[in-house]
């Protein structure tokens, strides 16, 4: 069963900015899924549409098989969302924020108060239950929004950059907490621009940049592809098909003089040239193929380094 299915989703804002250019995305039930991308990529827009805070321009969204257009109330009841920006009344006491959210979901006050106690304790906010939300630290405010999003026991939890601006120690404990919710059966989607976070937490990942999904794969495959580099080789010989190379990744024939070879970390360029040589192929020149994904990762990684 799919927890989320997005097809051909477009969003153009009123000012003409195209934030989503027809994205497709599927997330399996029970998954821990990362939506990774640099600032301005369209992550929050995508999440805004799913949680019905942003009007889509076109496309389809289904949550556990229920259509956002036709079964909005049902979809809302299955979703829990932790937005990127704080969106609670800072003058309200912490416990009221969580209990009231239960009320909006139609949960009787008695039950809502019990659950509030449970989640505030889980998230270390119980001692602060009676203070106004504005008195909480940034990390506590983030956890308050997590508690609030859990009050109706959603089956799909979406967190938009939940650990942005949260110090590293606290970040780890939030990861543990999210891990636990996921193990208890809640599907989790989180957006992030920390590679480390996606790597550590998530089984599957989509990478979004400038409103398009440029990669959607398992974390394992992604890491493997990141640890290899693609080279473009210009051959002296004329070829009619890509040569068979053992141990190397994808090998492509670009034209009769040119091939592209994915070189894994375990093998050297020497190995490559030797293998080609045994097939009578002579390399004239060679260059490193620049790849959008790799470039993106370099920017993401340098950003993450700057931040930490």
């Amino acid at each position: 069963m799919l927890a989320l299915e997005i097809s051909n989703l477009h969003k153009t804002y009123a000012n003409g900015l195209q934030a989503l250019k027809g994205i497709d995305l599927t997330v399996e039930q029970g998954d821990f899924f990362a939506l990774l991308g640099p600032n301005g990529a369209g992550k929050s827009t995508c999440i805004g549409i799913i949680s019905s805070l942003v009007n889509k321009t076109s496309g389809n969204v289904e949550v556990f098989g229920h259509s956002l257009d036709r079964e909005l109330i049902k979809v809302k009841s299955l979703l829990g969302s932790v937005p990127q920006e704080f969106n609670f009344n800072v003058f309200e006491p912490v416990n009221e924020i969580v209990t009231n959210q239960g009320g909006f979901y139609g949960i009787p006050a008695k039950v809502a108060r019990k659950r509030t106690e449970f989640y505030l304790k889980e998230l270390g906010l119980w001692p602060h239950r009676n203070v106004q939300a504005r008195q909480l630290s940034g990390g506590m405010k983030r956890r308050l929004m997590i508690a609030r999003a859990l009050i109706h026991k959603p089956r799909l939890m979406i967190l938009d950059e939940p650990t942005a601006g949260v110090d590293i120690e606290l970040r780890r404990s939030m990861w543990d907490f999210m891990d636990e919710i996921n193990r208890n059966g809640t599907t989790i989607i989180l957006t992030t621009h920390y590679l480390e976070e996606a790597e550590r937490m998530c089984r599957n990942i989509a990478i979004i940049d400038e409103g398009s999904i440029i990669k959607n794969t398992s974390m394992k495959t992604l890491l493997k592809s990141l640890n290899s580099e693609t080279f473009v080789l210009y051959l002296k010989n004329i070829i009619s098909e890509a040569p068979e190379l053992s141990g190397f990744g994808k090998t492509l024939m670009v034209d009769e003089h040119t091939i592209e070879v994915e070189v894994p970390e375990s093998l050297s360029l020497n190995d490559l040239i030797q293998q080609l040589d045994t097939q009578g192929l002579i390399v004239n020149r060679m260059r490193n193929k620049s790849n959008r994904l790799e470039e993106l990762f370099i920017t993401l990684t340098s950003k993450a380094e700057k931040l930490s």
Partner: protein, 257 residues
């Protein structure tokens, strides 16, 4: 989600709204009472004694229903416009927008908050009026119905204002330039029979006139306007504004991108 769940959601919104204005009672409940007390002292007692009778009653008895009505109008409006605008401005409106409740529950929740504040202030002002004049209600049922409908109508209007407002200035413009003139020219302080023929006719397009007069009819049994016409006018405006609110919420105007 069932009707029971929606009922809980509705109660939650209303409780939140009532808590909001009662927590800041110094800003929400006291000022209108003080203001109306001043009106009673100045216009009712001091000037009123020189004016003598209006429509066959003491001047203070003539203006009392209109002053109560004015408090109901400004306070129900103010409650919804500032509460809804703050929720939108600080994004906590999203707490309701993501929740599995139909827009009509949100609308009725906010409007009920406005109605409660309007009626609370109305009652407080009525109590204050007892200091200056005797309590007398000709037809309590009419008073209640007109008070409720008027509060309902201006709560809806407040919500529309909040949807379009982009700053705290915008929530003051309509009350200052539209609401206040309409109420002052709505026959609170005078009977329109005193006006020249043309201005009598012009006054009839002012909806507040119908509210003030039907309210006065409820209190005193005297009115410039036929009661059923007045109620009809109020209901008509409620219908129009209610539909506008539903369309705005459905489109997400001012609250969704």
């Amino acid at each position: 989600m069932s009707a029971g769940n929606y009922w809980i959601a509705f109660q939650t919104i209303v409780r939140k709204e009532i808590l909001r204005f009662s927590r800041i009672w110094m800003q929400t409940l006291i000022p209108p009472v003080v203001m109306v007390a001043l009106y009673f002292i100045i216009f009712g007692n001091l000037i009123g004694q020189r004016i003598g009778e209006m429509d066959g009653m003491n001047y203070i008895d003539f203006i009392m229903p209109g002053l109560v009505m004015m408090s109901i109008i400004t306070n129900s409006y103010a409650n919804v416009v500032s509460s809804f605008y703050s929720a939108k401005h600080s994004y906590y409106i999203e707490e309701m927008l993501i929740a599995p409740i139909p827009n009509i529950v949100i609308l009725l929740g906010y409007v009920t908050g406005g109605v409660v504040r309007g009626l609370c202030v109305g009652i407080a002002v009525t109590i204050v009026s007892l200091i200056f004049t005797d309590f007398y209600i000709d037809n309590p049922f009419t008073v209640l119905i007109v008070a409720f409908l008027t509060a309902f109508l201006f709560s809806l209007a407040g919500l529309i204002n909040a949807v379009y407002a982009n700053s705290y200035d915008h929530i003051a413009i309509i009350p200052t330039f539209v609401l206040t003139p309409l109420t002052y020219l709505g026959g609170i302080f005078y009977s329109i029979k005193l006006l020249p023929e043309f201005w009598q006719q012009a006054s009839l397009i002012n909806p507040v006139l119908y509210m003030v007069n039907s309210f006065r009819f409820g209190f005193r049994g005297v009115s410039d306007i036929d009661l059923s016409l007045a109620i009809g006018v109020i209901l008509f405006f409620i219908l129009v504004l209610f539909s506008i609110c539903m369309i705005l919420l459905h489109r997400g105007t001012g609250i969704k991108h």
